[in-house]
Symmetry: C3
Amino acid sequence: MAPQYAPSLRSRLPLVAFLLETIFVLLFVFFVKIEQHEQIDRKYDSKLFIRSYAEFQDIHVMIFMGFGFLATFLVRYGFSGSGFNVLLAAMAIQWAVMMNGFLLPQRHYRREIHISMKSVIEAELCAASALVAMGAVHGKTNPVQLLLMALVEVTGFVINQWILRTLLHADPVYSIMLLHIFGALFGVMVSWVLHREGINPKHEKEKTDRNTGLFAMLGTLFLWMFWPSFNSALVYHRRERELKLTVIYGTYLSLAVSAVMAISVSMLTNSKGKMNMVHIQSSALSGGVAIGVAMTAVHTPWIAMTIGFFASLLSALGFRYMKDHMLFAFECHDTCGVINVHAIPGILGWFANLILRLASSESTIAMRLAVYHICVLLITVCMSLVMGTATGLFLKWSFWRPQQDRKCFDDQAFWEFPNLVVKK
Amino acid sequence: MAPQYAPSLRSRLPLVAFLLETIFVLLFVFFVKIEQHEQIDRKYDSKLFIRSYAEFQDIHVMIFMGFGFLATFLVRYGFSGSGFNVLLAAMAIQWAVMMNGFLLPQRHYRREIHISMKSVIEAELCAASALVAMGAVHGKTNPVQLLLMALVEVTGFVINQWILRTLLHADPVYSIMLLHIFGALFGVMVSWVLHREGINPKHEKEKTDRNTGLFAMLGTLFLWMFWPSFNSALVYHRRERELKLTVIYGTYLSLAVSAVMAISVSMLTNSKGKMNMVHIQSSALSGGVAIGVAMTAVHTPWIAMTIGFFASLLSALGFRYMKDHMLFAFECHDTCGVINVHAIPGILGWFANLILRLASSESTIAMRLAVYHICVLLITVCMSLVMGTATGLFLKWSFWRPQQDRKCFDDQAFWEFPNLVVKK
Amino acid sequence: MAPQYAPSLRSRLPLVAFLLETIFVLLFVFFVKIEQHEQIDRKYDSKLFIRSYAEFQDIHVMIFMGFGFLATFLVRYGFSGSGFNVLLAAMAIQWAVMMNGFLLPQRHYRREIHISMKSVIEAELCAASALVAMGAVHGKTNPVQLLLMALVEVTGFVINQWILRTLLHADPVYSIMLLHIFGALFGVMVSWVLHREGINPKHEKEKTDRNTGLFAMLGTLFLWMFWPSFNSALVYHRRERELKLTVIYGTYLSLAVSAVMAISVSMLTNSKGKMNMVHIQSSALSGGVAIGVAMTAVHTPWIAMTIGFFASLLSALGFRYMKDHMLFAFECHDTCGVINVHAIPGILGWFANLILRLASSESTIAMRLAVYHICVLLITVCMSLVMGTATGLFLKWSFWRPQQDRKCFDDQAFWEFPNLVVKK
């Protein structure tokens, strides 16, 4: 007979976390230093630091508050949604600081990794790609599986960046902005491999209520409000000041349009004219994703608004019509709909980027440009699909003690609830 | 017989929103550019930008988080309170960028509108005045009505600013800070025209509970914490540095005093000595409103604290004794009590401004000064009353499909709730 | 027979608050000015101001949002937890501005107190120590008692700083970072003196639920995210730039490690392998406390991470095994577990500071250094214990109308709930 309680992770998670954390501290002992003062122009850096710290804080809020509370929309999964987000992000950031330092050359002096605002911001963006992947498997995996998935995802994403930068000489900002496409496809593949019959047709606990809808609104708003910082953080302030401002205003306007469109489309596609809060929250963000991928090619506000318009349209339609279809046709369940929020708008952004660059370049190099951009996308997609599948197979190992079907989307598998212990 | 379900907005809201959004994008195509680099002193602007972006973010959080969650206090209206806030603010900002650009001259070069941090901050402040107006009609109007009201309100408010600036040569910062008085009176007039018998004496759904009280606390706190940025954002940093600091510290102290007073008065005026959370949340903000109108005349901390003291006193008394009276005597229902939070403290601030200026000016110009300030207030009040009434009449048109009385203050008229669809 | 309702505070709190607020305004009239422009180097200050205002805002959010919502974890105490926090913090800040101005010399020109970003940040840190103390007595005291306790605590903490700075020539930053140890021990002593049998063995209302757990998560995250600003705010930017960066990165990494450890230890120490949300939220913050006390001596990332590791380990073990033990053995009830979050990690940080300084100093001065640090700790501990006991005895006076045992941890003693008034 199946056990009454969810399988205990007491002998798994603490061990894995202790071990990894000890390894991280040891690696930091030998390799990581705080950026030395002598190596940088004092006056220049002082201003850059002021600017960067505020941007870093915005992104920090997005990672921990935004992603964390966006995942609280499930009615019985709020503790896990926000709690596992902290665990994963905290580990992924430490790991990303080192991976970035080892593989991506610019912060790699004499075998030392130097922590700076830039390296921390890049680490947070890598962690964001892991959190996007987590969105696809929320509720169907336990924290050990999530933790391992996050570390593999960060590794894969940094390797992907390394390939793009060294083989294709891609722009670092462009290669890191592919995080949405990489993370979403990675997560969807893991979810596909880990598919379980118990959540078919629809798990009884996979719904929202008044309170969790508002908690998710909170997360959504923090992502939505600070997205201009997310996109513009790595655009170098001094040399590319105009680009930075263009990115900030473009992201801002794109998000405004996509919020309006998300609400409209959600109402239009319901037979009773009622809006769906979860769809709106997710689709409102799609404008930020699309413009993020295309941003270096967008120079006027109206193009940004148009990209936000179509990103939100596609995303909102995807939520209504594609999410269930994917579950039935491909047996692929995507809890937070990351394919509609991150993958499709990301690819739309990639497409907009290509079109805009072709339109502004001479016809002689147009073909080379197109091939280059298609290669970038293909490599990213292949890397994410292959690594996602491999990770899914690894996580399927029963050693990791997945929860039972009926404990999916439920905090009670992992959290103590005092009202069960103390009589009322 | 009345329909079982609320009238569907499926054929109204998406159409209006698509249409407006398309018009906005087209207007942006022809008129709006991102501020060009050549036109501004590079070094100077770099610093100003750093400063402004942080202030802009604070205001951005106030508009979307603050106003949005402040309106979630109604027990069954949380989705609408926060969701409609995003819709309205996102549309109002786009519209305000253009209205400001067309009417208010300083950002109007050769028939082009240039987006800059200043123009975006001003657009957000105009959106704030629309959100104040929305506070009066929350729960009794549908999103199409709210959307149209917001756009008319922004138009009226920008025209009012234009009148004050061109006819009376009013200070731009002063004229924009009248947003509280304009928005509140506008909203109250709309609410008066749209009055329905069904919410008399008190609608059964117009109350708060533990969770919605805390969500509203969240919105209140974000407004309360970032209000110093809201008031000081448009005070020009370089030339009026001392004034900017004075405004920041003054707003900060005024808000601290008004929070303490709100709690005290709320307890004192209840027969059992119990506090009312909704009253406290609203009255704690009144200090920021009052000091905002008076700020350019306040030079010492204690005056700011005194203004906060009396603003909160009046506001808290108004909540206890005036709100119900207004409903019975004038058949005017004010959902969020904007008249007590924005209109009365705003007029108190206007009065403090007048007194302080008279006290520090010579007697020869005292009369002119008084007449000038009375004119400013009268024009603003008349504009808001007239436009509010006209807007209310327009929105009364049954074409806009207002919800039934028993669906007032209820999310279910507009939102899908999954627990109704999926059996537990 | 005991009264049916909680004793009304209608004749106590408003009177005390009005009186104190009036005294504060009068003191501000005579003593407090906004920092004059002539006394400071213009160019230098402009940059410092930009930097400081952002840091101030981070700390402001921590004090009002962070501490406020951290205290909402009790299932029926959310309004009080967040509402009393605003009341206390707003009063404590006004009082701390004056106490700091009177006692601590650097901002004391010609008997005037000048408000500057630095003085406001210091006032907020003093208020933080009062809020830590409040954590120990939450739910067992009424708002008048809390208000008086907060003002005495701030007075005691500023006097303690004055003693350390004038007698022992302690570093101002170091002396203010002892706020955790001072506040926690002060609060625990107050709680010990005010101990009531009714909360023994465990009060039926002292538990959390899904929603309050998430509200507390919100407060935790805002504290956790902005803690780098909290620790680094008073490190002088220009002269000690490297130290400032080291503090920021150190706090960041320490917190990341302590979040991971809190989750691991909480799962490991539960027999069913389930995590406890309240413990995790509190322990995740302990890394920031410990590194805050030790920060000026920590120069490499791995030392910061190690401090976070052990702080969180001790704190999480303390929550599991010491909290109940303290209640039974010493009759001392500590609502938020401040002894495990602030006192023990604070002392660990003090110890780390001592060891690191001894390791890097010559042996000839090692003994003097050790004696000096032990004196600093002893003075702080004695001051907090003595003043906490005295305050507890003063608050035990029945004139302050403490609530009955069965109204402990319950909002209904102090707040109007509309659903009790209006029939559904």
